[in-house]
Symmetry: C2
Subunit: 426 residues, 2 copies
Amino acid sequence: MKERDNERWQKPDGRQMNLTRNDCAAMDVGDPLAHARERFCLPKDIIYLDGNSLGALPRATPDRIAKLLTDEWGDGLVRSWNMHDWIGMPARLGAKIAALIGAESGEVIVADSTSVNLFKLAGAAMRLQSPRRIVLSERGNFPTDIYVLQGLEALLGGTVTLRLVERDEIPEALGDDIALLVLTHIHYKSGELHDMRTLTARAHACGALVLWDLSHSAGATELFLDFDGVDLAVGCGYKYLNGGPGAPAFVYVAGRLQGLLQPPLSGWMGHASPFEFGDEFVSAAGIKRQLCGTPAIISMAALGCGLSTFDGVDMRDVRSKSIALGDLMLALVGQYCPGIEIACPADGKNRGSQIALRHAQGYAIMQALISRGVIGDFRAPDIVRFGFSPLYVRFVDIWDAVATLAEILADDSWSDPRFQSRSTVT
Amino acid sequence: MKERDNERWQKPDGRQMNLTRNDCAAMDVGDPLAHARERFCLPKDIIYLDGNSLGALPRATPDRIAKLLTDEWGDGLVRSWNMHDWIGMPARLGAKIAALIGAESGEVIVADSTSVNLFKLAGAAMRLQSPRRIVLSERGNFPTDIYVLQGLEALLGGTVTLRLVERDEIPEALGDDIALLVLTHIHYKSGELHDMRTLTARAHACGALVLWDLSHSAGATELFLDFDGVDLAVGCGYKYLNGGPGAPAFVYVAGRLQGLLQPPLSGWMGHASPFEFGDEFVSAAGIKRQLCGTPAIISMAALGCGLSTFDGVDMRDVRSKSIALGDLMLALVGQYCPGIEIACPADGKNRGSQIALRHAQGYAIMQALISRGVIGDFRAPDIVRFGFSPLYVRFVDIWDAVATLAEILADDSWSDPRFQSRSTVT
């Protein structure tokens, strides 16, 4: 990102409060990622600030999937496993993700869900670290991370114990008894960012391994997994990677650990020779042993289109714009939305690509926003959350979203009963 | 199926060898399932006898998926989890599968892969059966079943021991020390069928639970899971259920066991209240606790189209036609293909919807068949396998396939070097 643009984006820092919508439009003109918005189908009259729950539809996806269905599946039938290299898809997409997160191509593979992948890596890591038996994680970590670790604890009885501590207690909790530290890099509610490099080093110093959940990081921030010495990571395909609802997830295992980790979910796709149909499980070499069952090719091909939205994109630009979008929203909220509390780091460098606001009527406020075409989401009990996918969110979108929020707060329109009743998924 | 049709189909029983292609065409005319073939897109000049590896493309799938992508994902964005009830898809599709396998709608759910589901159920069953620790299975069972059990054994150390016995030794191996019997109902190579009801009862008599893999059964044979007293089952979505490459799989848990099984893969979608984002895993009631991560909605919607190809279909017709297709192929092979060995049960009632032939040059023979438009598959070391999806395979297809096989065998055309080199997926 050019210095000149950064300067413009840094305008709304609390000292310059007279920002106009035209200023936001000017920021969009200077945005080196502005062209990427064309890569997405975005509905008219919607401001979409929920790419951290479900990324938008890439323009290329419908044609790609139609071709996959009609030509590859319909005409090619079972032959397409070879002819169209479906069998190579998990590693091929893994290599594309590796390029976005600072990893080597043989260190990432696409498979299963984030939850299942957490189980695989945590289970394998605990065997490697035996007789240490404590998994350390953060209270309030994304629930599925905690749930999967609780499941592992229940399954493995006395050999795995989950210990949850408060966020600020993590460094001191890293003692010689810790086998594995499991953290989400960017917190799903607050957007607060852990220092990956420092915490990884701290864990290594006491002999622990670290497993990072990158669900809210991959595709929205710069990552340096290899440089930061990361051991293990998982991440989500359907948020900032734009892979579609329930897209397959990914697994990262540092090259140095790949041969040491025995997968607890040992399905045939992780076998060294799956098509020899032998009676004995022999792990594939490298990252492929992290596969388990047959990959969901249709969903995986959609993820491929999601990853292609990053073609030619510099992740430094993504990170800079992400911070600028957040800074802008915080400045505008501070100016126009009294009565709502900021619940995320004010300093962009400690924040992921999202803003969290706190309000007792958060649920109803979000419903009111959605009814006016501003889609963010609500996280219980009181967090209003806005995620910024730097590939398609514009600075004027932030302006318009805050303007709408300000209206709703000013006239208490959230108190309309139709915004109060809860639906299943929020 | 009408008696008259059965009689006609029973012609090729070894006593009537003068069957002509016209006779086969007449069988198609009398086929009560003939209309179902229109529900599929099948390439011209291809005889597809590999629906047990990958089912054919349903005609409805491309439009349904296009609508899902453009309207539901593209326009609806994250709102479609509620608006289009994506969140209910696993249970909704589960109910459709339940109707095909003799189960109640609340006993089946769609999730993950067959391998992952095997792990879930076997892991939960072993906890329930503790202190018994032996899992009994069949040597030569489908590899992923064995591999997953080996992975569970390695993970759980002394509390799970896998014991593999020969097929005919299973009844006597069912002693008071067996915790769990894991069998594939229809063998992937030989097509041989286990007596589900008798073996389940035999296992129960010694206090064992039974987990059936229905991957080669669901959609191709009649199943009576509840009536047969089955405890647990898993199955595949991409074979006879026509769900597309790597379609999500399914899980069956008998109602009486649902509350007793604690899932070892405890992801957020199996939580009683996933959107409350609490720190403590509490299993959902009923079959929903078998969910783990976020479901792969695009692949799942394609499975929905696959299941709709069974709308209005009587599974008794499916089973009768499946046997008749197999009987026809065996009779024709016996007559026209000397030198190839029958490697599946001759009696249709002991056989799934497939025929296995054995030949030392099986791989090359299958490659030669494929080059002439007859697609079956090869299973190492020497099995040539043909699967019959009764919804779209015709009796004339069997005639034409055997005629092609007879030509290839008669002139040794399999010995062409281009048919000898192995590709990745066979």
